[in-house]
Symmetry: none
Subunit: 281 residues, 2 copies
């Protein structure tokens, strides 16, 4: 049987097309490792019980940085500059790196999002189990579609993959909301931002995934898919991690205020979210 | 359409020209990573609320170190030694690394400069938003000029790029001055040094950028632009970071003095800046 991969790369790219993907990958390597250095060094800025979430943020962007390094090298060896155009060398461009990355990082991102809330174990454990299983199913079924031989198979597995994604959103908007009901309004506002960032950034992946279904083919599809995935990864990992860091800082500040003035517990519950994103001390 | 890039590299360099750029890049790699090691290890020397600024300094020089590593490799593969001269191999010298670097580091440098002042969030947030947007506009429009086909287009986009630069200077000299009005005179003196270093080092970039406009062409222009950008990056990142570190140390010292003798708050406000640059324990 011949191997026809709908997501396989085009035989020719213009220098601008090749460079756009190349520089997007390089930017992503720099951003991921920069974020890792930030999270590992800044973890001491938050209270001890929130540090695990920041450490996981650092681990996630480190895993992504490693994979973008591989993806960058794979892209570089997949093409060669000849007569003013980039021609495919015949070396495969390895799509599996992305899926291996997501398989490791997506459950970690969900753990990170729940860990920063420092919920009671009775509440957080079942939440995390559901989210992690759904994440693995989402990525596994998506990968089957990504390497599928036909556009129809790709569409079917893409649809199957959407079900666990919707389940994750359902859990985040129902059970997680109940779990944080008694938290400070500032935390709720940031948590809301975090959920919408997750919805928005994770929503970019299916759009990039769907490009071949929409009749966008060849060089444009490849450039669109690769730049789209890269942009989504930047939002979903370093930017998401910064939002988690903001939540940890606000919660640390609330804890410190409460420790200093035990009577003012209810006072901190006012709607002062606008003053606090990224504040310290 | 043929691809004519005014910033494209000359077909031949003398060994001295090639080596000057090559060694400047290598020096820069060493300086950036050395500075990163310093900032990440020395952050504990300053008070907790100033540590974020030092961590960001470390992140900035790490990002720059990564990009100089890439730039160095790109320079190396762009030329080959033949018959006593360095001839272009046909492999492109990737100018985009610099712009990707600036896109990530310039907003971070401005955040670093404001973060070390530990201002009230109500003051720092609008300041940072304006500065970050202006920085992205400055670099984006500059890049359009850098890769332009003609010297006229380069000049026009260079001029457009100057407007957000002037706006950044305006913000730093007006709003930031008001924001630090009540800070200690020693801090004000160091802040002034930081602003002038920023003006001076960022001023080198447009000069390097303008070399092709001034009729300086070929090998001399390329060597001038590359060495100029490298020199400017050394001032704008590690040296700038050291100045931020000095401010953090002085402010830490003031905080500790005030905590020890709460009555002497106003006494520390005297003009003793000359005694204090870089002092602490």
């Amino acid at each position: 049987m011949e191997y026809i991969n709908i997501a396989s790369i085009p035989t020719e790219l213009t220098p601008d097309q090749f460079s756009l993907v190349y520089n997007a990958f390089s930017l992503c390597i720099a951003a991921m490792f920069a974020a890792a250095l930030f999270f590992f060094n800044a973890k001491s800025q938050v209270g001890r019980k929130y540090q695990i979430a920041i450490i996981i943020s650092g681990v996630v962007v480190s895993i992504a940085g490693y994979h973008y390094f591989r993806i960058f090298n794979s892209w570089e060896t997949a093409y060669t500059l000849q007569g003013g155009a980039y021609l495919a060398t015949g070396q495969p461009f390895n799509d599996a790196y992305r899926y291996v990355d997501w398989l490791l990082t997506v459950p970690l991102l969900l753990i990170e999002a729940v860990a920063v809330l420092a919920l009671n174990k009775n509440i957080s454990r079942p939440l995390l189990t559901k989210l992690a299983i759904a994440a693995v199913l989402m990525i596994g079924t998506g990968y089957v579609g990504e390497v599928a031989d036909s556009i129809t198979t790709r569409a079917i597995w893409g649809a199957v993959s959407t079900l666990p994604f919707l389940y994750i959103l359902f859990i985040l908007w129902t059970e997680l909301s109940q779990a944080v009901e008694r938290q400070d309004n500032r935390v709720k506002t940031l948590l809301n931002g975090m959920r919408f960032l997750l919805l928005f950034s994770w929503g970019v992946y299916p759009i990039a995934y769907l490009l071949p279904e929409l009749g966008i083919e060849g060089a444009t599809a490849t450039v669109g898919v690769q730049v789209g995935y890269t942009f989504a990864d930047l939002l979903a990992k370093p930017v998401f991690g910064l939002l988690v860091f903001s939540i940890a800082r606000v919660k640390t500040q609330i804890d410190e205020t409460q420790a200093a003035e035990p009577h003012s517990v209810t006072a901190t519950n006012g709607n002062r979210a606008e003053e606090l994103v990224g504040s310290t001390q």
